[in-house]
């Protein structure tokens, strides 16, 4: 089992009617990594995830989980991962403790093991105080935590998270990220879908960008950002009369195209070191600038360049 990929997806395809929602997607995930499926709404992320986790039958293609085909060895493959869906898939009508107990039993734990594991998870996810209250009184964050706890009952080494932080407030989102990082530290392999670039950037080791059912780009966040171009310099020229002169000056210093919006000028730099001569030249020409900033390339740029979205 040493060199087996955690997940091996080859030529996965799904059609709903005559619409191809997942189009010939292939990728693999190594044990211990966090793999992000990134894409706009309706790109096919969730459908892909549902096929990998055996919830949906693929029209074509194959998925192997730790070397086991999800169709031929479905039950075995299912026993190897935990899944947290996009909508909290826990029972509203019963308490957190009861939810954990039932899912532990369904996972094949004995009654006493189930009780022990339930107690552990309630503690780990700080749900002890509300353990016996009806879920209706839970906040969105608590529900997500319980949901995640349920998928961790069997301590799966592979965890699927479908948009784990969608709809959470910033504080709860950060808590969720910490929880996910903690899981990675313990050696879990994680596959997550997200439409938040920041989330992908924060968590994922490798990213696949999906749009209109196709895998448009794959790589580490750093690689993808590098492809999107270097740092961006932008500033505002204080006096409108000097804008043209400033633009001309800027063009002579860099290779990239100069963009102008009103009195604001911006340009891509291949190295931050290019900045010094530009500033010197501006100073020499007695052009005053305000709001000078240098921006590192973000996944936003990558995302915007590569995806069109539903519209």
């Amino acid at each position: 089992m040493t060199n087996v990929n955690a997940i091996e997806v080859s030529h996965l395809t799904k059609k709903f009617g005559d619409k191809t929602v997942v189009d010939d997607i292939s990728f693999s995930v190594e044990p211990g990594e966090v793999f992000g499926l990134l894409g706009p709404n309706g790109a096919g992320k969730t459908t892909t995830l549902r096929m990998i986790t055996t919830l949906l039958k693929a029209d074509a293609g194959q998925v192997k989980i730790f070397g086991h085909d999800t169709v031929k060895e479905g039950r075995l493959a299912r026993s190897m991962f935990g899944l947290t869906g996009q909508y909290a898939s826990v029972d509203e009508d019963i308490s957190a403790r009861e939810n954990l107990m039932i899912f532990a039993r369904l996972n094949g734990l004995s009654r006493s093991d189930a009780r022990e594991r339930t107690a552990e998870l309630l503690k780990e996810f700080s749900l002890e105080e509300s353990a016996d209250k009806a879920l209706k009184t839970f906040s969105g964050g608590m529900r997500r935590r319980l949901d995640l706890a349920v998928s961790l009952i069997t301590r799966p080494t592979l965890i699927f998270l479908d948009e784990p932080t969608t709809g959470l407030d910033p504080r709860t989102r950060t808590q969720m990220w910490d929880t996910i990082r903690e899981l990675v530290k313990q050696g879990s392999t994680i596959v997550l879908t997200t439409q938040y670039l920041e989330e992908a950037d924060q968590l994922a080791d490798n990213l696949a960008i999906i749009d209109h059912g196709r895998l448009v780009k794959m790589g580490t966040p750093a690689e993808l950002k590098r492809e999107a171009g270097g740092s961006k310099l932008s500033f505002t020229v204080a006096q409108a009369a000097q804008v043209a002169a400033a633009a001309k000056l800027l063009a002579s210093q860099v290779t990239g195209a100069v963009r102008q919006v009103g009195q604001q000028l911006s340009v891509s730099l291949s190295k931050v070191a290019e900045l010094t001569p530009i500033l010197a030249a501006l100073d020499h020409a007695k052009i005053t600038v305000n709001h000078l900033s240098i921006q590192e390339p973000s996944l936003d740029d990558v995302f915007m360049n590569l995806t069109v979205g539903k519209n």
Binding site: Q86, V90, F103, G108, L109, S110, R117
Partner: protein, 257 residues
């Protein structure tokens, strides 16, 4: 703690699922309202409204209507299973069940076994209401238990059909309306409330095709004679056949959902 995973077996999984559904019901006692209120309401309304017209008096009508309302209540309790399954599917909790390494029939069977409690409550309410209205069957208590079990088993078998409906329908509301119509047609186009000889020929033909008629006849016969009958056996065989056909169909529908 090392987590011990053993292949859960179907019986254990089903028991756990049944426990889950029981917990849900216990936390939400409203779920019992329909099976408690409906038989009481129907027994009172039908008994006092039609008793005189059909049988010449409430007391004479009760032996006809008690088995009739009993089976009607079973049908309507059975429709609840379908609606509940649809709700679970829509909530996403079935996704999780599906992704667990357990038998696919367990969530469905668990639901239906837990629903037997609803059937039991409905049966007890129906028979008690009849008793309070003056229904005094001539047979011993043992035979009352027999017809109660027969009714519950029939209701349980039929709930597999409603479960299938629940899986195939688009929404819980659709399940409810289709189930309600099925329930009304099956219970009224039978001998549940009127003697068959009072019906026109085509209507009698339909009522004679309706399985509900056979169940009610079997129950009336047991109550009248105090003995097991050929018809009762036929009902048991019919129930088993329904489960044998619809349980696999339901699992198939669940898998493709």
């Amino acid at each position: 703690m090392e987590v011990q995973m053993h292949k859960g077996n179907v019986v254990m999984n089903t028991a756990t699922m049944a426990y889950r559904n029981l917990l849900k019901t216990v936390h939400n006692p409203d779920n019992f309202m329909d099976v408690v209120i409906q038989p009481v309401l129907f027994m009172l309304m039908f008994g006092y409204l039609f008793g005189g017209a059909i049988a010449g008096g409430v007391k004479a009508y009760l032996p006809i209507i008690v088995p009739g309302i009993l089976i009607q209540t079973m049908l309507s309790a059975g429709t609840g299973s379908g609606a509940q399954i649809r709700e679970d599917l829509d909530s996403g909790v079935f996704d999780r069940f599906k992704s667990l390494p357990m038998a696919h029939i367990a969530p469905l069977a668990g639901q239906l076994f837990a629903d037997s409690l609803r059937l039991l409550i409905a049966t007890v309410t129906s028979l008690t209401t009849g008793y309070l209205m003056g229904w005094r069957p001539a047979v011993g208590f043992g035979w009352i238990v027999v017809i109660a079990l027969l009714a519950i088993f029939t209701g349980w078998a039929l709930s597999w059909i409603f479960a299938l409906l629940g899986l195939l329908a688009k929404s819980a509301a659709a399940v409810q309306s289709v189930s309600l119509m099925t329930m009304l047609v099956l219970s009224f186009m039978s001998n549940a409330f009127v003697p068959l000889h009072s019906l026109t020929k085509p209507l009698r033909f339909i009522a004679n095709l309706n399985p509900v008629t056979y169940v009610i006849t079997a129950i009336r016969q047991i109550l009248a004679t105090g003995g097991w009958t050929h018809e009762a056996l036929l009902v048991v065989v019919f129930d088993i056949a329904v489960v044998a056909v619809f349980a696999p169909l339901t699992v198939w529908a669940y898998d493709r959902n």
